[in-house]
């Protein structure tokens, strides 16, 4: 409460200063806010007899983020409120306060931040703190950060602090302290002889360490756990290669069931691109790389690093039915993608050209062997397992092939055609133990017709065909937009192929919205599918819901 009053007084004090004309020319205030509210209703068909979800009839998530800057100095805060959190968000978010408060001083070579901040080293394999409002994810570090650029092409960063854990303040002997250091050198900038070279090379390295006192009575915990990584980014003409290798020393924790083996990860990408053609390949391997600042936490919080998933993210309704999530204890996979634009005026390309994109990705488990004869693989209090670096495990976690064609027929009419084949390990990823992999064929047609210069109508037809899990689905969506302000949408997902006739339901939604410059208002009414969310071995049911959803967002 004290903190809140201080902030409000600060905000009120700025106002007269901001009004003054001479300050005005140099200082700026800007920010953004969003309010999301959901009001639940009973729905007999979904089996919701009560309008309450987790004892509440509504959920409300909101934030306001303000940044004040004056010359080299800037400061800001974010206020968040979850009163209570909307269904699907972690219940620990309930509450309100100022979880993000910071001040930064920047000069040409030097930047110093105190308070909460977000930072990424390389690809994030050793450290990445970020925020994702739509997921309720925020692992900001509260402490200090220094960025030093002694010369162009050379950057050093140092961080120190503790991470956010919902609303819990930091306590001694609670969660850990994170320290990190990163250096990056752009050889083309630093060495004048290389300035005009056809070869572009950037090297980087990072070292991160977390300290947490041993409060675990059962296991001997290492109090300082370090993680190191080295990376490069090499460009030769039209080719570009990046790679990062990370190594973490013994880090027994709840996520890996307290095993003592070190962890490592390798990410490698290569691409070739020229006008109209892009080819991309990626290889990734992760072995025991969960790195959190508290050994006992299983939920989606307190991660120090970030393990990027290797799949193509899908956004269409049915394509996103079986989403993949990185398995931090071990996975190995690759991805290939080709983007090609068939040139304009050619036979197939037509007047505007035609874009084709093909993407294939596959992720398997790593191959694990017993660490010694007496312990089973993954047994707590042992070395866990050994794994051959270049060997793929037998289990497929996810595999998908995506083919997308987008074509503009004429000034008014364009369309996207998409086909996806997915092989999804629902047992491992969603915790449906015993169920076989879901093999699904998904087809999507998305067409837009612009019938006046301001009005257009877009429709989508989708189908998902599988003999596993819930069976076949069909979906349709129609969206009518009036530029620059209005949109109206109706959509329906119909589970017509479900083997239980009482579950052959329509999940319909209707929404409309209004946008004025940077302010957007949208109201949706409808049904949302239920789900089971499993994070770190704890599964929680996200109830199906029916009701109104409002969102208002703005930037200024």
């Amino acid at each position: 409460m004290k903190r809140l009053i201080t902030i409000l007084i600060f905000a009120l004090l700025i106002t007269p200063f901001v009004k003054g004309q001479d300050f005005l020319s140099k200082s700026q205030v800007h920010g953004s806010f969003e309010l999301d509210g959901m009001y639940y209703q009973a729905d007999d068909a979904l089996g919701i007899t009560d309008s309450l979800i987790n004892g509440n009839v509504f959920g409300f998530n909101g934030f306001a983020d303000i940044i004040y800057s004056l010359g080299n100095f800037s400061a800001g805060f974010r206020y968040e409120a979850y009163l209570p959190p909307i269904a699907g968000f972690d219940r620990n978010l309930e509450g309100q306060g100022f979880p993000y408060l910071w001040a930064t001083y920047t000069t040409e070579k030097f930047s110093f931040t105190v308070g909460n901040f977000y930072e990424q080293f390389g690809n994030g394999l050793t450290l990445r703190t970020y925020q994702e409002w739509s997921l309720g994810y925020d692992n900001s570090i509260n402490g200090a950060r220094v960025i030093y650029e002694p010369t162009r092409g050379l950057i050093f960063k140092g961080v120190y602090g503790t991470q956010r854990y919902f609303w819990a303040p930091f306590e001694k002997n609670g969660r850990g302290i994170v320290k990190g250091f990163d250096g990056e050198i752009n050889l083309n900038d630093v060495f004048g002889s290389m300035a005009d070279s056809k070869i572009r090379l950037i090297l980087g390295g990072s070292a991160v360490s977390k300290y947490q006192s041993d409060q675990n009575p059962m296991y001997k915990m290492p109090q300082n756990v370090a993680s190191f990584a080295g990376r490069f980014n090499l460009g030769i003409g039209k080719f570009n290669f990046t790679s990062e290798y990370a190594y973490k020393i013994n880090d027994p924790s709840a996520v890996n069931s307290y095993i003592y083996k070190p962890g490592d990860a390798l990410v490698f990408t290569g691409s070739y691109s020229t006008k109209g053609l892009g080819i991309f390949a990626m290889f990734k391997r992760i072995d025991n790389m969960s790195y959190k600042s508290d050994e006992a936490v299983l939920s989606n919080a307190l991660d120090i690093n970030f393990l990027p998933p290797i799949v193509e993210p899908h956004t269409y309704m049915l394509a996103a039915m079986y989403p993949y999530a990185t398995q931090p204890n071990g996975e190995m996979g690759f991805q290939l993608q080709i983007n090609y634009k068939i040139p304009k005026k050619s036979k197939l390309g037509g007047k505007y050209g035609m874009g084709i994109s093909v993407n294939y990705s596959q992720i398997n488990d790593i191959a694990r062997e017993k660490a010694n004869d007496t312990a089973y693989i993954g047994q707590s209090g042992t070395m866990g397992w050994t794994s051959d670096f270049f060997k793929f495990g037998d289990q497929i976690f996810n595999r998908d092939l995506t083919i997308e064609i987008d074509k503009k027929f004429n000034r008014r009419f364009k369309s996207i055609f998409k086909y996806i084949y997915q092989d999804y390990n629902i047992a491992t990823i969603l915790g449906h133990t015993g169920e076989p992999n879901v093999k699904a064929n998904i087809a999507i047609v998305d067409m837009t017709w612009k019938f006046t210069s301001k009005k257009s109508i877009r429709w989508e037809l989708q189908g998902l065909w599988t003999s596993e899990d819930k069976g076949d689905w069909a979906a349709a969506l129609v969206e009518y937009t009036i530029s620059p302000h209005w949109f109206f949408t109706i959509a329906d997902q119909y589970n017509y192929g479900n083997k239980h006739s009482y579950e052959q339901l329509h999940y319909y939604t209707g929404s409309f919205g209004y946008t004025l410059k940077t302010t957007r208002f949208a109201l949706t009414y409808g049904r949302q599918r239920e789900g089971v969310v499993c994070v770190g071995g704890v599964c929680r049911q996200v109830p199906a819901s029916s009701g109104f959803y409002v969102t208002i967002s703005s930037s200024f």
């Binding site: 219940r91 303040p169 001997k220 756990v225 006992a296 299983l298």
Partner: protein, 283 residues
């Protein structure tokens, strides 16, 4: 300029030297917990549809050994994964839900956060009451450092002919305390064989162990979900005793030799458990 780089490198070196705690086996600590009169209540919220829960049951049992039997376990079947006929599966027809278990689950919001999850002495930490299985050891260890502020003695008499159990519970406070203290007396049952979804091959068959052995299953809170008040309100002086006697008729499924009486005393406002005790029905 060169000196700056040297300083940075030295700093990095010092940082690295200081950050590597490599632990060598044995990895498990060996400590003696056998002296101490405080016992801790561990409630394991579970369900037969929860495939991660057998691991939690194993951890609870291991902790009982590790802490020299100073942990009293209740397995509360409540919430989504404990529903009978979950997902229409006829093998999951068992119903271990109880009125008390469901009341506690709703009040403390355990299953809402997922299963498996637990409560330890119903203490409330910065993130609430719910404690995940990997933090159980840490929390129990901290609580066991305290001296018991009350001692519970249970006396059971079971009449085989009438199938009526008479249980006498004596709560004796060893220190001065203030507040309204209430006593809850429950029946738990071991060795119930019923299907359980399971994900860990090392514990049993996957995906379902048809002959899973459920232990510490809460059957009933004899004196109600929130129990009976001992002192009413105000302060209790050291050495004050309260005696309560209850009778309960056993239904067919409750096999006396596998059943225990679990009694615990708690503060009405904070809900924190002061002391817990357990005794077999036929002992």
């Amino acid at each position: 300029m060169k000196t700056k780089y040297i300083i940075i490198v030295l700093f990095l070196f010092a940082f690295i030297i200081n950050s590597c705690d490599k632990v060598s086996p044995p990895f498990v600590e060996g400590r003696d917990y056998c002296s101490g009169n405080k016992k801790v209540l561990l409630e394991d919220y579970t369900g037969h549809g929860c495939n991660n829960c057998p691991e939690a049951a194993v951890i609870a049992h291991d902790l009982q050994d590790f802490f020299c039997e100073r942990v009293v376990i209740i397995g509360v079947h409540a919430g989504y994964f404990a529903q009978p006929y979950l997902n229409g599966d006829s093998l999951l027809s068992a119903d271990f839900n109880t009125e008390a278990g469901t009341t506690w689950d709703n009040y403390f919001g355990v299953s809402a956060q997922g299963n498996p999850n637990g409560l330890i002495d119903r203490v409330k930490g910065p993130s609430g009451y719910v404690i995940s299985k990997d933090s159980w050891a840490k929390v129990i260890d901290t609580l066991l450092q305290n001296n018991a502020k009350a001692m519970i003695t249970i006396n059971n008499e079971f009449n085989i002919d009438t199938k009526i159990l008479t249980t006498s519970v004596q709560t004796k406070f060893t220190e001065d305390v203030s507040g309204n203290y209430k006593l809850i007396v429950c029946i738990t049952q071991d060795n119930i064989i019923a299907p359980q979804l399971n994900k860990n091959e090392e514990i049993g068959p996957t995906p379902m162990d048809i002959n899973y052995v459920h232990n510490h299953v809460l059957r009933k809170a004899i004196n109600g979900a929130w129990g009976e008040s001992l002192n009413g309100s105000g302060t209790v002086s050291a050495n004050t005793s309260y005696d309560k006697t209850y009778t309960q008729e056993f239904v067919d499924d409750w096999i006396p030799k596998n059943c225990h009486i679990v009694a615990f005393v708690y503060h009405e406002d904070t809900k924190t458990v002061l002391q817990a005790e357990e005794l077999g029905v036929l002992e």
